[in-house]
């Protein structure tokens, strides 16, 4: 798992291309950038695909697990986070990455995302955020901007969007970042930090939909993004993170990079059954030898 000292690569790009399907995204889709940057991060971190579980919900971006190696769960719409909770608590040694769209994670799956965040399970949650429902051919999403004309808002959206960064800060996520699929090396760098973070890491991945969102385009983002690492931002300062989180709304500037990072005990490190008996899956399904002890009060 650790990066090799002698630069010997145990796991290469081709390991993450085994038994995969060809991506079915539209040419130019932002999700291609997410895929290649994620693969790059995984290889750089020398993570074993056999011990990796990539979990998604439903949507264009949720086809992600099929396009990358490792084990995958392509679950139900909005349920990636819940599947990840069950998976991580069953085998805490797995590297678990959750990937899905803004509709999946911030709309139908919002509750699961918020609760997964406050649990601080050691996993990485990437929202591939294109501010539109793509697979259902272009309806407003929870991150569609006010005024956005979509198939469900033909006269313009009259709701304010969710602010994923501020919301994740409020949900006590211990790592909150944003990156842009138009900047592969920034993306891979943020992903590496997110995967390495011990705890719940949230990444808002700006990933343009070239077919249905003609407003939030690559150019739209290129004109507005700036890197937090290039400015005087302290990622351990929660209030500073909140302030940056609102810049897109208030100043039309989009910070990318790590907004906030803190260290807190993970859920699985405090879970008593795991603490006492170890990794449940690795231990196996066994008959507890001490079962009669728990029935003493029934006599």
């Amino acid at each position: 798992m650790a990066v090799s000292q002698e630069n010997v690569q145990l796991f290469t790009q081709s390991d993450w291309r085994e038994n995969v399907s060809k991506p079915t995204w539209c040419p130019g889709c932002g999700d291609f950038g997410v895929l290649s940057a994620t693969r790059k991060a995984l290889v750089e971190l020398q993570i074993d695909p056999t011990d990796t579980l990539i979990i998604s919900g439903i949507g264009c971006s949720s086809n992600f697990p099929h396009f990358i190696g490792g084990y995958g769960i392509h679950s139900l719409h909005g349920r990636a986070a819940a599947n990840a909770v069950g998976a991580k608590l069953s085998n805490p040694d797995l590297t678990v990455i959750v990937a899905g769209g803004d509709g999946d994670g911030l709309g139908i799956g919002l509750g699961g995302l918020v609760h997964a965040a406050r649990r601080n399970l050691d996993l990485t949650y990437v929202v591939m955020d294109n501010q539109i429902y793509g697979l259902t051919t272009g309806q407003a999403s929870p991150t569609s901007l006010m005024g956005a004309k979509t198939k469900s808002t033909p006269f313009g959206n009259i709701e304010l969007p969710i602010n994923p960064i501020a919301m994740m800060l409020a949900a006590n996520a211990t790592f909150v970042a944003r990156t842009f699929s138009g900047d592969g090396s920034h993306f891979a760098d943020v992903m590496k930090q997110a995967i390495e973070h011990k705890g719940f890491a949230f990444v808002d991945a700006l990933s343009p939909c070239v077919t249905f969102n003609k407003f939030n385009t690559y150019d739209y983002f290129r004109e507005r993004v700036y890197k937090l690492e290039d400015v005087d931002h302290d990622p351990s300062d929660l209030m500073a993170a909140y302030k940056r989180a609102y810049e897109w709304d208030t100043e039309d500037k989009i910070p990318i990079g790590v907004f906030y990072k803190t260290e807190k005990p993970t859920y699985e490190s405090m879970e008593l059954a795991i603490k006492t008996h170890g990794n449940p899956v690795k231990r196996g399904a066994v008959r507890p030898s001490n079962i009669k002890e728990i029935t003493a009060h029934l006599y």
Binding site: I73, A82, P280, R287
Partner: protein, 599 residues
Amino acid sequence: MSIVRDEISFRISGQNGDGIFSAGEVFSKICSRSGLHVHGYRSYQSVIRGGHVNYSVRAANWECRAPADHIDVLIAIRGDSFIVDAPKMSEGGIVLYDSKGFRIKPNEVKVPEGVKAIDMPAVELASQFSSLKIVANTVFMGAVVALFDLDMKVFENMLEDNFRSKGEEVINMNIESARAGYNWAKENLEPIKHTVKIDPNAKPKMFIGGNEALALGMINGGLQFYAWYPMTPASPVGQFIATYGEKVGVVCKQMEDEINVSNAVVGAAVTGARAACATSGGGFALMTEAIGYASMVEAPVVYIEVARGGPSTGLPTKQEQGDLRQLLGASQGDFPRAIIAQTNVEDGFYLGQEALNIAEKYQMPVIIASDLYLGEHFETVPEFDYDRIPIERGKLIVDEVPEDQRPYKRYLVTDDGISPRTIPGVRYGQYDAGSDEHDEFGHLISDVRAGYPDAIQIRIQQMNKRMKKMEVLLKELPAPEAEGHGSNDADVLLVSWGSLLDIVRESRSQLEKNHGIKTAHLHIKYILPFHSKEVGEILQSYKDAGAEIILVENNYTGQMGQHIRAETGFEIKKKYLRYDGETILPREVTDAVLDLMDR
């Protein structure tokens, strides 16, 4: 002169907060520690303070596994006890109440003919030993021990056990109070006549609830992950596992809602953990999408549904078998799953293990159908056989995929429909568990390939493969048999399912003994896959021989009757259906059967 019974039946009732349930439990354990078989159940409401609650205990030398038809002794803590509980007293019964201590007015005291209402100064007696009013319950319980002529030493030992952590003084105060009640009753009252023989030195029996038995069974069956969201009456399963999970190695996770419960268990199952969850009707409605999902990705999960009175929020603390159609209809499309009814408390222990095995061997969801009465009532159970059911994990690959099986096909088409299964961490076994239609590798065929000739073939193959598991499973499950008289001489065949097993059985013995009716009983446990052929033949043979066939169910529409008709074409026309929220008593089945048979 009242009938002398071979059982004792006791109830205590009052408000929430009066200590009704602990008194009921204490009396249950006095009986079980006296070597008796005990059946205890509580009736309550969806409030935390106030309301009217009761706890009924029935005990005998024989295995009484149904609620009692009558009450011999009632402790009426509040005036409402005379409205709700006293009418169920049998002749010769005794109601104990304390008019002064609990301010019960003379005009509130009403009992059926032949029942004595005794005003007992329980609070006053208790006040000699404690200023706590709740100690009056101990005084009352002492009187009950005297009325049934039980062994006071058993009660005293029990008080010692219960209050050990609180010290000598508290133990002695309680024992003194109990003795005061006992002596008062001995001096002032005639005991209840019965033929129950007690053995204070008997080996203690486990006294456990239907929900707890399921939980214990699943733990014994190697459960590794349990998720839940609180919902009456399923919560005790989760509470049991939350309390003891750390000791026995089960991760127990309360989730934010039932949708995420039902999905967390799939995530756990795909990862390789034995996983289960429990809920009631409304929660199950939220879980339904995940049940088809579990089946599609071929994940072994046990979903438990402990039904309560519906529809909607319905009667949260009352009994009904009204969710069968929901279980059968859960989730879109055709997909393999098993639905099995828990039939009694003891059955829960073994069913919990059997369900985990079926789920894992067939790589499919197993739904356990229970209900409030079954889940929440307690019984003494015969010593559990912890080794009876081995843990069977089926075609699970835990090391690495053998060379001849590479490249690995998670959804390999096989004769029995079951494919060798890997879990994350197994080398050469990577795949994606996809809720979309997929090929043998798990690659989805739902988008760009859908509709191409090869994808159409794959679709048919995968559907056939999955559904094949239902045929194979059906052969493994024991077919139901009618118990009691054969079709050649039975007057009536009673048909029931789930929690009504022992209630109908007791009614049959009443029909046989008291009314000379020859009875038979067809009880359904395995609901899906269904033994259509066998059930159809049984029903037809009794019908052809001229027996009456009567369906007994705890719901409005006779949902099992409809299921049987759908599966066999046989319509059961005579029905005793109850949907008042109350547990059906054996005597009520008996009366209904007599009525339906025009006897």
